[in-house]
C-alpha cells in the first residue's frame, strides 16, 4: 500500500522550504516514526518522520529541491521491509537489501544485470531468500510460457519501459534495443512455433454443473479438508488428468527422434505472483484427490509469492494448464511449453445465451483451447481429448464412474 509523504504544513509566514537531508534512501527499511528527511525553511528546520513501518519507494524531491507546503516529496510503501525478497523494495535499488548487502550471489547478479532484471522480480530459493544463479535462470526460462497466456495483459519488463513523448506535429522515432529478457522470450517463442507443427482446437464448456457442485459442497469440503478451499482448478486438473490417461499421445514428449510416453501425469499450473507468472508442476496428479490438488496449488502459490519456489518445482511436467481468464481473456491460442506436446488454455467464465433443447438459456460458459503439436498428436485425438475434458467437466459424475 503506497502512501504519499508530504512536506509538513509550513507556518503562515513561510513561503517555501528546501529539502536539506534525506536520512533514508529508497529500499532502506524504515520504522514507524523514524526520521526520514529534514526540510529547511527560513525560520526553522522541520523533521518528517515515517508514517508506518516500511520502505521509501521513490524520492520525488531530492536534496536541494524547493518544496511548497504540503507538497509530495516521496512515495512510501508500508509493509515489513525486513524480508529480503519482498516486493516492497524500491525497483531502482536493484540487488541491494536494507543493509546494503547483495542478496544475490555473483553469478546471479551477473545474470540479473545482463537481462535487465531487478532482484525484486526474481524469487530467491537460497539461504535467507538469497537469489541463486538457478533462480534467475529458472525465472528467465519460465517467462516465455507466461507470455502467450497473459495475452490480455502486457507485461513489458520494468526496465524496458520507455516513454516515447511525441510533441504534436512531429513524426519522431525512438530506437530501443530489445532487452536480453525480451530477446530470450522472443527466441523461445519462435523456436516453439518453428519446430512444432502447432495448431489449436477450441471448444466451450458449461461451467454451471461444476459451479453448482462447488456451491453445494464448498463448506463441507473446507471443513473436512482442514481449511483447504474448493476452487475450480482441481476440477480442471482432474479432468485433464483423466483425459491424458485416455489419450497418452497428448501426455507424451519428443526427445530427439523418440516419442517418450510418460506413465504418469505431471501437470504444470500457471500461478500468478507479484514476481510474475510461474509454472510450478503438480507431480502425479492421478494419485491426488481434489483436496490434494487444491492444497498443492495453494501451497505452490504461496511459495511462489514468498519467493520459495525452487527450480526443481518447475522442471519436468508432461502437460500445462494456463489460465488467461484471470486477466479477462475470452479466447486465446496458448503456445506450447517445450518439450511438452500440448497445453490447455482456460479463459474467462462469461454468461452467454445458449440454445438448450430449443430454448434460450443463460449459462456461465468458458472457452477452452488446446494447442498441440501435430507431429505427435493427430487432429482427431486432440479434438477428442478436449471434448473429453469438456464432457468430464460438464458432468463430473463421469470422473467418478470412469466413463
Amino acid at each position: 500500500m503506497s502512501i504519499e509523504i508530504k512536506a509538513p504544513t509550513f507556518p503562515e509566514s513561510v513561503a517555501d522550504g528546501t529539502v536539506a537531508t534525506w536520512h533514508k534512501q529508497p529500499g532502506e527499511a524504515v520504522a514507524r516514526d523514524e526520521l526520514i528527511v529534514d526540510i529547511e525553511t527560513d525560520k526553522v528546520v522541520l523533521e518528517v518522520v515515517a508514517p508506518a513501518d516500511g520502505v521509501i519507494q521513490s524520492i520525488v524531491k531530492g536534496e536541494g529541491d524547493t518544496v511548497l507546503s504540503d507538497e509530495v516529496i516521496a512515495i512510501f510503501v508500508e509493509g515489513a521491509a525486513g524480508s529480503a525478497p519482498s516486493a516492497d523494495e524500491a525497483p531502482a535499488a536493484a540487488s541491494v537489501d536494507a543493509d546494503g548487502d547483495a542478496i544475490a550471489g555473483p553469478a546471479a547478479r551477473k545474470l540479473l544485470e545482463e537481462n535487465n532484471l531487478d532482484a525484486a522480480q526474481v524469487p530467491g530459493s537460497g539461504k535467507g531468500g538469497r537469489i541463486t544463479k538457478e533462480d534467475v535462470v529458472n525465472f528467465l526460462k519460465n517467462k516465455p510460457a507466461a507470455a502467450p497466456a497473459a495475452a490480455a495483459a502486457t507485461p513489458a519488463p520494468k526496465a524496458a519501459q520507455v516513454a516515447v513523448s511525441v510533441a504534436p506535429g512531429e513524426r519522431v522515432e525512438k530506437r530501443v534495443p530489445m532487452t536480453r529478457l525480451r530477446a530470450t522470450i522472443a527466441k523461445r517463442l519462435v523456436e516453439a512455433q518453428q519446430s512444432a507443427a502447432m495448431l489449436t482446437t477450441y471448444n466451450e464448456v458449461n461451467m454451471k454443473p461444476v459451479m453448482e457442485l462447488r456451491k453445494q459442497y464448498k463448506d463441507l469440503f473446507e471443513k473436512t479438508h482442514n481449511g483447504t478451499r474448493l476452487g475450480f482448478m482441481s476440477f480442471f486438473v482432474k479432468a485433464a488428468t483423466e483425459a491424458l490417461k485416455r489419450f497418452p499421445a497428448v501426455n507424451a514428449s519428443i526427445d530427439g527422434n523418440d516419442i517418450v510416453y510418460h506413465g504418469y501425469q505431471d501437470i504444470g499450473v500457471a500461478v500468478s505472483t507479484e514476481r510474475g507468472l510461474m509454472v510450478p508442476v503438480l507431480r502425479d496428479t492421478d494419485a491426488m484427490s481434489l483436496a490434494d490438488i487444491e492444497a498443492n496449488i495453494a501451497d505452490l502459490g504461496a511459495r511462489g509469492r514468498d519467493g520459495k519456489l525452487g527450480i526443481a518445482d518447475m522442471q519436468g511436467g508432461t502437460f500445462t494448464i494456463t489460465n488467461g481468464g484471470v486477466f479477462g481473456s475470452l479466447m486465446s491460442t496458448p503456445i506450447l511449453n517445450p518439450p511438452q506436446t500440448a497445453i490447455l488454455g482456460m479463459h474467462k467464465i462469461q454468461e452467454r445465451p445458449m440454445a438448450v433443447n430449443g430454448q434460450v438459456v443463460i449459462l456461465p460458459m468458458m472457452y477452452l483451447a488446446v494447442s498441440y503439436d501435430h507431429r505427435m498428436i493427430d487432429g482427431k485425438d486432440a479434438v477428442q481429448f478436449l471434448v473429453t475434458i469438456k464432457d468430464l467437466l460438464e458432468d463430473p459424475a463421469r470422473m467418478l464412474l470412469d466413463v
Partner: protein
C-alpha cells in the same frame, strides 16, 4: 529431594559438552553426566574426541610429519641437519599436555556457563529421570525436563584379534605407544587405521595394513581413493586389500597375525597390532528397559531428523545415533537440540558435512562424489586442478594431490568437492560454505581468490568445470 534440571546431558564429548554449554547459554538449568576419569580418579571431559581421538591423533600426526620433513624434506631447501632423531616419550608427553589443556578448558567452560557436572555413569530411566552411578558405586537420581543422550561410540572388537595389553591395541592404546615398533600391523584401512599407520610409518615402522574389503576407501570419490592409495603406498604403508584376519597369536613380545586373501592363507609377524575396524554406538547400561527410548536395527538410538528419540523430551546426538561419526556433526546436533528444547526452530543440513582424513597429504570431501551422482543419473560436470600446477604449492614443496569440483550440468549448482592435498582439511571449508549457500560453479568463478595461495586451486577447479581453467590445459568435454 532429588535435583531437578531443565536439561540433563549424558556424556561430555564434543556432542555433549557443546549441547550443555549451549543449553546453559540459553538460560536453562543444565547438568552434564560424565563417567571418564583419569588415572587419579578425577573426572575428565571431552570424550573420545579430546582424549583418545581427534585431538591426540592430530598432535601425533603433526609431530611425526615435522620429523619426516626434518628427516627427508629439508635438504631440498638447502637446509643441512645432522642426524635427526625422535624422542617418542617426549612426543607422547606433548600430546598428553595438549589433551590436558583442552579437557581442563572444558571444565573451565562448564564453570563459566554454570553447567553442573555430575561425575558418574548416566542411565536414562522411565519418566525422564537420569540415574548417575558414581565411582564408589553409589547412585543419585536427578529429574530432567529434557534429556540429551550423547554417550558416543566405542571401538569394535573382533574375535580373531582380542585386545592384549601393550601388544594388540585399539585407538587408545595406539596413541600411547612408547617406542617406535619395528613392525606395525593395522587391521582396517579406514580413517583411524590410515592415520595411525602414517604416524608410525613416518618414524620408521614397517607398516602393513590389512583391509578385509576389496575396495580402498569405498566411501570416498574413486579418484581420491586411487590417488590416496598411490601416495600412501609410496610413503611405505603396505596396504593389503581383500585381506581378512582370521586369528592372532601372541608370542612373547610379538604378534603373529593370520589372514586370508585371494591367494590363500597368509601370516605376518608384527611387534604391535592396532585394531581399527570401526566404531559402534555405546549403549551398555545406558537405557533402562522401560525408559521409552528405542534402538534401531543397527544398535543406534533411533531418532528423527531433529534428533528426537521415541520418548518425548529425550533426544540423542553424536556417535550414538545415525549419520557420520564425526565430532562436528555431534556438536552441531548438540546445538540444534539445545535450540529446539529452548523453543527455537532449528535444522541441520546433513548434506554439507565435510569429512577428512589427516594423512599427508590430507583427504577432504563434502557433498556427493562422482560415482554416487552417476548412479543417481545426475548429469554432472567435473573440474579438477592439480596442486602440481600451483605456484604456492611449489613454493611450499607440497604439490601432491588436486581439487576436484563436481556440479550439476544443468543448473550449475556445486554438488560435491573432493580434495587431496597438504591443506585439504582447511580448503574444504570453502566448498562447504559455497554449498551451504547453494552456490553455482559460476559463483566460485566470479569470486576473487588471493594469489599466491593454495586456495586458488578451488577457483581453478571451478573454471575447469566449464573447460576454461587458466593455469592448466583443459580436457576436451566428453
Amino acid at each position: 529431594m532429588s535435583q531437578k534440571f531443565d536439561v540433563v546431558v549424558i556424556g561430555a564429548g564434543p556432542g555433549g559438552y557443546v549441547a550443555a554449554i549451549r543449553a546453559a547459554q540459553l538460560g536453562m538449568k543444565t547438568a552434564c553426566v560424565e563417567k571418564w576419569v583419569d588415572d587419579k580418579g578425577a573426572t575428565v571431559l571431552g570424550g573420545t574426541c579430546l582424549n583418545v581421538g581427534c585431538i591426540p591423533s592430530k598432535a601425533l600426526l603433526d609431530s611425526t610429519y615435522k620429523y619426516h620433513m626434518a628427516h627427508a624434506e629439508f635438504e631440498i631447501h638447502g637446509i643441512k641437519t645432522g642426524e635427526v632423531s625422535m624422542d617418542v616419550p617426549a612426543m607422547v608427553a606433548r600430546k598428553d599436555q595438549i589433551v590436558k589443556n583442552l579437557t581442563g578448558g572444558i571444565t573451565g567452560l562448564f564453570k563459566a556457563n554454570g553447567v553442573t557436572l555430575l561425575s558418574g555413569k548416566g542411565k536414562v530411566l522411565a519418566g525422564k529421570k537420569v540415574e548417575v552411578t558414581k565411582a564408589d558405586g553409589s547412585t543419585e537420581t536427578v529429574d530432567a525436563d529434557n534429556i540429551i543422550v550423547a554417550a558416543g561410540s566405542v571401538p569394535v572388537n573382533i574375535p580373531p584379534a582380542p585386545l592384549v595389553d601393550d601388544l594388540i591395541l585399539d585407538n587408545e592404546g595406539a596413541l600411547n605407544i612408547s617406542a617406535t615398533p619395528k613392525r606395525l600391523g593395522v587391521i582396517g584401512a579406514g580413517v583411524i587405521g590410515l592415520e595411525m599407520g602414517s604416524v608410525w610409518a613416518r618414524l620408521g615402522s614397517e607398516v602393513t595394513v590389512l583391509e578385509a574389503m576389496e575396495e580402498f576407501l569405498p566411501f570416498a570419490d574413486k579418484e581420491v581413493a586411487k590417488e590416496a592409495q598411490k601416495l600412501l603406498g609410496k610413503q611405505g604403508l603396505d596396504i593389503k586389500l581383500g585381506a581378512r584376519v582370521t586369528g592372532t597369536e601372541v608370542k612373547g613380545k610379538t604378534v603373529k597375525v593370520q589372514y586370508t586373501d585371494a591367494s590363500g592363507e597368509q601370516e605376518i609377524v608384527v611387534d604391535k597390532l592396532i585394531v581399527a575396524v570401526g566404531r559402534r554406538p555405546y549403549t551398555e547400561g545406558l537405557l533402562a528397559a522401560d525408559c521409552g527410548v528405542e534402538l534401531d536395527e543397527r544398535g543406534f538410538i533411533s531418532v528423527d531428523g531433529q534428533c528426537r528419540t521415541s520418548m518425548p523430551g529425550v533426544y540423542a546426538i553424536g556417535d550414538v545415533v545415525r549419520g557420520p561419526m564425526l565430532a562436528h556433526k555431534a556438536s552441531e546436533e548438540g546445538i540444534m537440540v539445545a535450540d529446539i528444547i529452548h523453543g527455537h526452530k532449528a535444522q541441520m543440513n546433513y548434506d554439507c558435512i565435510p569429512g577428512i582424513i589427516y594423512t599427508h597429504p590430507e583427504l577432504a570431501w563434502v557433498g556427493k562424489n562422482e560415482q554416487q551422482l552417476k548412479a543417481e543419473g545426475v548429469k554432472i560436470k567435473v573440474g579438477k586442478f592439480p596442486f602440481a600446477a600451483s605456484g604456492r604449492a611449489m613454493a611450499s614443496q607440497d604439490t601432491d594431490g588436486f581439487v576436484k569440483l563436481i556440479a550439476c550440468e544443468e543448473t550449475d549448482r556445486v554438488l560435491g568437492c573432493h580434495i587431496v592435498g597438504g591443506l585439504a582439511s582447511e580448503l574444504i571449508a570453502q566448498a562447504v560454505i559455497a554449498m551451504e549457500f547453494g552456490s553455482s560453479v559460476e559463483d566460485l568463478q566470479l569470486t576473487i581468490f588471493a594469489h599466491p595461495t593454495v586456495s586458488e586451486a578451488v577457483h581453478e577447479a571451478a573454471l575447469a568445470c566449464d573447460g576454461h581453467a587458466i593455469h592448466v590445459a583443459n580436457r576436451k568435454k566428453r
